[in-house]
Symmetry: C2
Subunit: 522 residues, 2 copies
Amino acid sequence: MITGKNYLGKELSNDGEVQFRTFNPIDNKETEPTFFEATREEVNMAVGKAAKAFEVYKKKSDLEIAEFLEAIATELEADAEALKEIYRTESGLPEARSNGEFTRTVNQLRAFSEMLKDGSWVDAIISNPEGKPDIRRMQIPFGPVAVFGASNFPFAFSTAGGDTASALASGSPVIVKSHPLHAGTGELVSRAIVNAAIKTGMPDGVFSNLNSKGIEVGEWLVKHPKIKAVGFTGSYKAGVAIEKLAANRPEPIPVYAEMGSVNPVVALPSSLEQKSDDWSEQYAGSITAGCGQFCTNPGLILAIESPALDSFIEKLGTKLSKVAPSVMLSPEIQRQFEAAKSEVLSQDGYNQINKFDGDLQPNYGRQEVISVSGESFLQNSAFHKEVFGPFSVVVKCKDKDQLNEVLRNMEGQLTGTILSADQQELQEYNDIIESLRETVGRIVYNNVPTGVEVCAAMTHGGPFPATSNAKFTSVGLTAVQRWVRPISYQDWPDELLPEALKSSNPLGILRNVNGRFTTDSL
Amino acid sequence: MITGKNYLGKELSNDGEVQFRTFNPIDNKETEPTFFEATREEVNMAVGKAAKAFEVYKKKSDLEIAEFLEAIATELEADAEALKEIYRTESGLPEARSNGEFTRTVNQLRAFSEMLKDGSWVDAIISNPEGKPDIRRMQIPFGPVAVFGASNFPFAFSTAGGDTASALASGSPVIVKSHPLHAGTGELVSRAIVNAAIKTGMPDGVFSNLNSKGIEVGEWLVKHPKIKAVGFTGSYKAGVAIEKLAANRPEPIPVYAEMGSVNPVVALPSSLEQKSDDWSEQYAGSITAGCGQFCTNPGLILAIESPALDSFIEKLGTKLSKVAPSVMLSPEIQRQFEAAKSEVLSQDGYNQINKFDGDLQPNYGRQEVISVSGESFLQNSAFHKEVFGPFSVVVKCKDKDQLNEVLRNMEGQLTGTILSADQQELQEYNDIIESLRETVGRIVYNNVPTGVEVCAAMTHGGPFPATSNAKFTSVGLTAVQRWVRPISYQDWPDELLPEALKSSNPLGILRNVNGRFTTDSL
C-alpha cells in the first residue's frame, strides 16, 4: 500500500500541508493516493539522520555494504509486480520497458555489490621506498548525498538508480528527492531500501525519500551544510540552477548533473549508399524509443548532401510514419515537447521529413523529423536545441568542411555516433571523427546511441552542457568515484590503518605498491 | 639574460605599457630588469596558440611527451646556477632551499616522464563480455590549462612546478600566469621549457608565460572560452575569486585551487609526557621553516591541559626564541603577516609563548606562538584563521571532549598530525583521530606536516576551504587526473582505437579487462 508519506530514515512522516497526486497519462487522470510534500523541518530531519548515520555507515566494511545492496535488489524483486504496476501507471511506459528497466536496476545494484566484494575500487596506492616516508592513499566517502529522481527513468535513474546505488556503495548515506511524476513508485522502491537497511543492520538515516512537487525541497537539500554532494538527471535549466546553488554555498559542493544532449550522429557516405534501409529502420526506432524521452535520443543526424542522403531521408520519413505514436510521461512533458517543437518549426529553411495526420490521444507525442541545410543549421541556433521527445533534425552539409564546421561548433554531448560501411572511409574522415570525439563522452560506431550499458568501461557523461562535470560518469561502476575523495596516511601504525592499506593486505585487493600493481602483502 | 618579456609560445613579446620590477627582500630594493605586463591581446594570442597547439599536442604519444618533460629537466639543469641565483634574489630564500626546491622540481618532471613511459595512467578499462557491446574507456586531455604561479615556491609550485608538469604530462598545453614576486625566475624557467619544446618537436604554443602584477591577466585567462581548467596555489581570497569566476562562465570549468590551511597537530598526552624535548625542538623548526611560508605550516597545536603540556609550551617558547628570524618573501607579505598577527593579538584571552625583543631587519618575520584555552578558541574564530608566516596557536583543551569539539568544528585542512608515544593511547583516542581524518587530505603520525613527498600516494589537497576540490591532489603523480576526462569507445574498429585501447595492447599497459587487471592482449 502506498501511504503518500516521506521516509525520514525508516520513519514515515507527513507533517506538511502541501499535497499532490501523480498522474496516469494513459487514462489521462490523477492516481491515488495523495502525496505529502516534505516540510523544511522534515528535510532537516532527514539530513540530520543522514549525517548521524554517516558516522556509522562509513565504518561498515565493503562486504557489509555489499550485502545491503544485494538485499535491496532482493527486496525489490520480492515486490516486483507491484513495483512494475505502479511504474506503468505513473509513467505510461509499456510493460516491456518496465521489465527491462527493473532488471537493469537490480542488476546495477548487484554490480556495485560485486565491486565491493572485490574491494579494489578504493584505489589503494602505497609509496614507501627506502629512506622515504611511508605514504598510503585510498578513497573514502565524505558525507550525505542528495539524489534527484529523473522523470524518464523511474527505476534506473531515480530512487534506487545509479546515483543511489553508487553513493550507497561508496559509504555515503543518500537522501532522494523523489520525482513528483512517480512518487508512488518512489515510495515503494524506498520501502524496499529501508527494509533492506533494517535487515542488514544499516543505521537509521542511511536512506531517506522526500516527496516534492515544487522546487523548495530540492533547494533546501542542496543548501543544507551537511549535504556534501548532489546527483541529478534532468533538464539543463534545473541542472544549471542546482550547480549555481551549490557553487555559491559557503562551502561549495560537487554537483553531478546530467542535463541531456542532442547526441549527434554522423552518417558517412558509405553508410547511406550501402545501408540506408538498415539505418532508416534502426533510427526510426531509436528516435521514437521511449517516445524520444531518453537523454541519448539521436536528436541530430549529420551527413553530406548526396542522392543517397535524400534516399535515406525518404526512407526514414516512411518508416517514421509507420511507427505508432506513444504516450509521453505526463501532460506537462507533452506540452513542453509541443512547445519546443513549435519553436523549431516556426523557423525558416527546413523540410518536414515525415507526416502524421491522424488524431492523437491526449498526452501522446507525435514524432517529427526535419531536414535543414548545413548553412541554415550554422546560422540558426534554434536548430541546435534539444527537444525532449521524438524529434530529430537531419543536417545536409554541403561538403566535408561544412560538416566539420558544424561539429567544431557543437556544444558538449553525451554521445556521438559514426555510421560507415567502409573502414577505409574512416581514415579519410579522421578529422571529422576527431572533432566529434572532442565533444562527447561516448563515441559509438555503427549503432544507435540509445541504450546505455551498465559496465566498468561506460562513460555516461560528457563536456558541458551535457553534464556539469565531464570528469565523471553517472552510469557504470566508476560512477562511485563521484562520492569519494582521497586521503593519505603518512607513517601510520599498521594496526590503525584501514584494512585496505594494511601491510598484510587482508582484503587481498589490487594495490599500487611503489609503482607495481599487486595483490601481495608488503 | 632576463628580458622582462612574455613568452607567447616561443615568441618573446612586450606590447604592453604596464611595467613592474621584482624585489630583493634581503637588500630591500628593486631588482633589474623591468617586466612588461601582458596585454589583453597578448593573453588572447597565448590562448589562441595554446588552442591550436592542443590539436597537435594531444596526438603526441606518451613517449614523446615523456621526452619533452625530460628535456625540460635537462634544460633547467643546464641553467641551474643562474636559476638558483635569480630565485634567491627574488625570494630571499636561502641557498639550501634553492637547491632543495630545484632538485624537487626536476625530479618531479622526471617522475611524470616515468609515469608516461609506463603508460598505465590513462586508466584503460575494457568491457566486452559475450553478447554485449564492446566498450573501451580511457582518460584524455580536454584543452589548454591556466596555471597561476605561487609566491612561496618559485620552482616547485610555479612555472615548471607540479601543476605545469602534470598538465603537460596529460597532453594539455599550459599558460602560466607568472607570479609577480619572481617574474625573473619565471622567465628563465620558461626559457628552459620553450627550448625543450623546440628541441623535442612540440608545437608552438604548448607553453606560454605571462607577466602580470595586477589581477586582470589572470581574469582574462580564467574567462577565456578556450581555457578549459585552472591550477592555482595561493590565498583563500584569490582562490575563491577564481573559482567563482570559473563557475559563472557560460561554460563552467574546473578550478583546482590550493588555498592553504592551519594544519592542526594533536599532541596526545604520552607525546608530551615522554617526548616534549623532541617535539618542542622539531616544532620550533617546523613553525619557522621557510619563515612559516608553507601551506603545510603547523598553525595549530591541540592538546589536553596537563603539567606536561605546560612544560612542552615552555620548551617550545625557549626553542623558538633561539631561532634566528629570517626574511620573508616580500615587504607586502611581511606587512600582511604583521597585520594578520596583530588582529589575533588584539583579542583577549591568550598567552604569549615566546618573546623576541631584538630589532629586525626590514622584511624579516618575527616568529610568534601563543596559547589559548579550548573555550577561548571555540568562542573566538579569530584564533582559527591562517596567519601566513611563522605564527602558531597552541590550544589547551580542558578534556578529551573539548578537544573533539574543537576538531569537529574545524574547517577543511591540507594535513592533520597526531603525536603519540604510545600506540595503546591511539585506540583510546580513536574518535579524535576519526574527527581529524574527516577534516584533512593527509594524516601524519609522529612527524611535522611541513615536507610534502612527491609520490604516487601523496594527497596534497583536502576539504574546502583547504582546496576548492577535495577529490584531487596538486602534488604527486595522481595530480595528472585533474586535467583529463574519460571517453568511451563503443564497438570501435580496432585499427582506429587509440593505442592504449587496441586489443593487442601494443603499449603493454595495465588495463582492467572485464574486471581483471592485466597487461595481456585480448
